[in-house]
Amino acid sequence: MKKFLITLIIILIPVKSFGLIEVDITRGNLNPLPIAVSPLSIDEESRKNFESILKKKNIGSEISSIVENNLKVSGLFNPLNKDAFLQEPDIANLKPRFEDWNLIKAQALITGKVSYVEEKLRVEFRLWDVLAGKEMMALAFTTVPNNWRRVGHIITDKVYERLTGEMGYFDTRIIYVAEEGPKTQRVKKLAIMDQDGANNKFLTLGNELVLTPRFNPTSQMVTYLSYFRNLPRVYLLDIETGTQEVVGDFPGMTFAPRFSPDGKKIIMSFAKDGNSEIYTMDLENRIVEKITNHPSIDTSPSYSPDGKFISFNSDRSGYQQIYVMKSDGSNVKRISFGKGIYGTPVWSPRGDLIAFTKLHKGKFYIGVMRTDGSGERLLTENFYQEAPSWSPNGRVLIFYRETKTDSKGKGFSAKLWSIDLTGYNERQVTTPTDGSDPSWSSLLSN
C-alpha cells in the first residue's frame, strides 16, 4: 500500500463553532440531511493538465461525485440534484449566496477548488451552514494526482466528522474473497477494493482455496487461510510487496486468524485429532501460546480493542455459543443465552459491542450485543448471512449473504452487504464478481 502521500495543510479553522447543524447518527436514515455538493471548480489550465494525466475530463466534478456518492451511501445525507444549483462553483466557493441554497432546501453546502500546482493535485474545500449563513470548516491539501479518489474520501471523512461528531470511515478499503464458478467447485481469490467498490484488485490467482482474510491494525498486512498444497494453514500477506508466508505451520489445520489490536500477534484456531483450540503466535519471536483447553470446538476468536479480552465461539454447551475470556484464557464466560445458535463474534472498535451471526429456526441474523451478552439486537434476517466486520468508527457492519438455490440447485450467489448499527440503510456493496468474508480496514489517512 502506498504510504500516505497526502499532506494536510489546514488553512482556516473556524474560531468558534456555534453548534449549528448537527446530524444525529443514532437516529438512522429517517431524516437524511439535505446537502448540496457544488462541483469543485477548476481553472482551464489545471483541467487540461489533469485531463492528460488522469484521462478525466473534469477532475473537479469527479472528486465531488465521489463525495456525493459517499454521503448518499452513508444514509445520513441527502445530496441534492445539481440541476437545481443556481450559483457557479467558483463563485460559490468564494462566498455562497445563502438565500439561493436555502431556496433549494440545502442545509449544508460543500464548495471547493482544484488546481494543478507543481505536478501535484491541490484541493481546497469548505463546508457551509446554509441556515446560519456561516462557514463551518475550510481545509486544503496537496497530493499526487493519482490519489484523486482518496481526496474525495478524505473530504467526505472531514465533512462527516464535522457534522456527526464521529470519526469517518470513507478513506478505507475492504479485503474480501472474490468467488466464481459452480457452487460445488468455487474458485476463490483474495481481492481488495476501496470502500466504495472502486480500484478492485485481485491479490491471488485462484489456484488454491483462500478464506477469511483480515487486516492488521495498519491495514498493510492481511492474515488469511489458504489451502496451498492442500494444507489448510494460516498465512500472512504483505499487500505492498505481495510477500506471502505461512505462520500457522502446525501439524494440523490452522484457521480463523485475526490480528491482536497491537498487530504483534495472530490469534487463530488449530484443529488436531478432532479438537479445535485457540492459540496465539507472536509474529516477532514466533512463540506460540495455547489459550483454550477444552475438548469442544473453540474457534472464531476476536480480541477486544484494548487487547485484554477475547471473544470466541464454542460448542461446549452442546451448540455453538459466544464466550468471552481474559486474553490469557482464564475466566471463560458464556455470554449468548438467546434462542438459537451463535457464532463469529467480533468486538466493535469502540469496545462496547460484539457483532455476531445467529441461526434460529432456519434463518440467519446479523446482530449486536453488549460484551456481557445483554441488550441483544438483531439487525437483519435472511436465508444465509454471516461474518460481520466493523467499519473503523463502529457505525457500519459489512458481511456476506448467500442465496438459496432452486430445486435444480441453480441460482447460487454470494454478495457483500452493509448495514448501519441502527439497523437501517441496508445495501449491497457491489463487487465485480461474487464476494464473501469481507474485512474492513482502518482509516488510511489517520
Binding site: 482455496l209 484456531s269 444465509y384 448467500e402 440447485g409
Partner: protein
Amino acid sequence: MKLSKILKNGFLIVFACLALSACATSKKSTGQMQGDVYTGTDTVEYLASGVPDRVFFATNESVLTTASRETLRKQAAWLRKNSKITIVLEGHADERGTREYNLALGERRANAAKDYLMTYGISSDRISVLSYGKERPVDSGSNPLAWSKNRRSVTVKAN
C-alpha cells in the same frame, strides 16, 4: 363414573397417537434419509467393489451411525488387504453453519472416521485428515436432502 372412564380411554388413545406421531417425526425415513442422515447412494463412489467411499452425519454431529460403522469396517478390511495404500479423509459440512465453525466440524467428522478405522487396525501413518468445511458441497441444492449428502467424510486414495 362411566363418563370419566370413557374420557380416560379417550385420553389414552390421544396420548398413544401423539406418541406415535412424535416417533414418526423424529425418526422420519424418507427413503433417502433416516432422521436427517443421508442413507441413499446417489453420491457414493466405491474404493473397490462393495467398499463405499463415504459416510454421512446428522446436523452438527460427528457421531458415526450404524451404517457408517459398517462402511468403515469394509474400508478397514480393504485397507488391510492393500497395505501400501494411504488415504485422506476429507471432512465436510453443509452450508447451514458459519464458515469457521464448519471447518472445525469437518475436521471432527473426518477424525471420527479416522478413529474408527484405527480401532480396526489401520495405522494412523496411513491416514491424513483434511477438512473442507462447507467449501466443497457435492450437491448444490438448498434443501434438507442436499444438506444431508453434504455432511460427510469421504475416504480418498492418496497414492
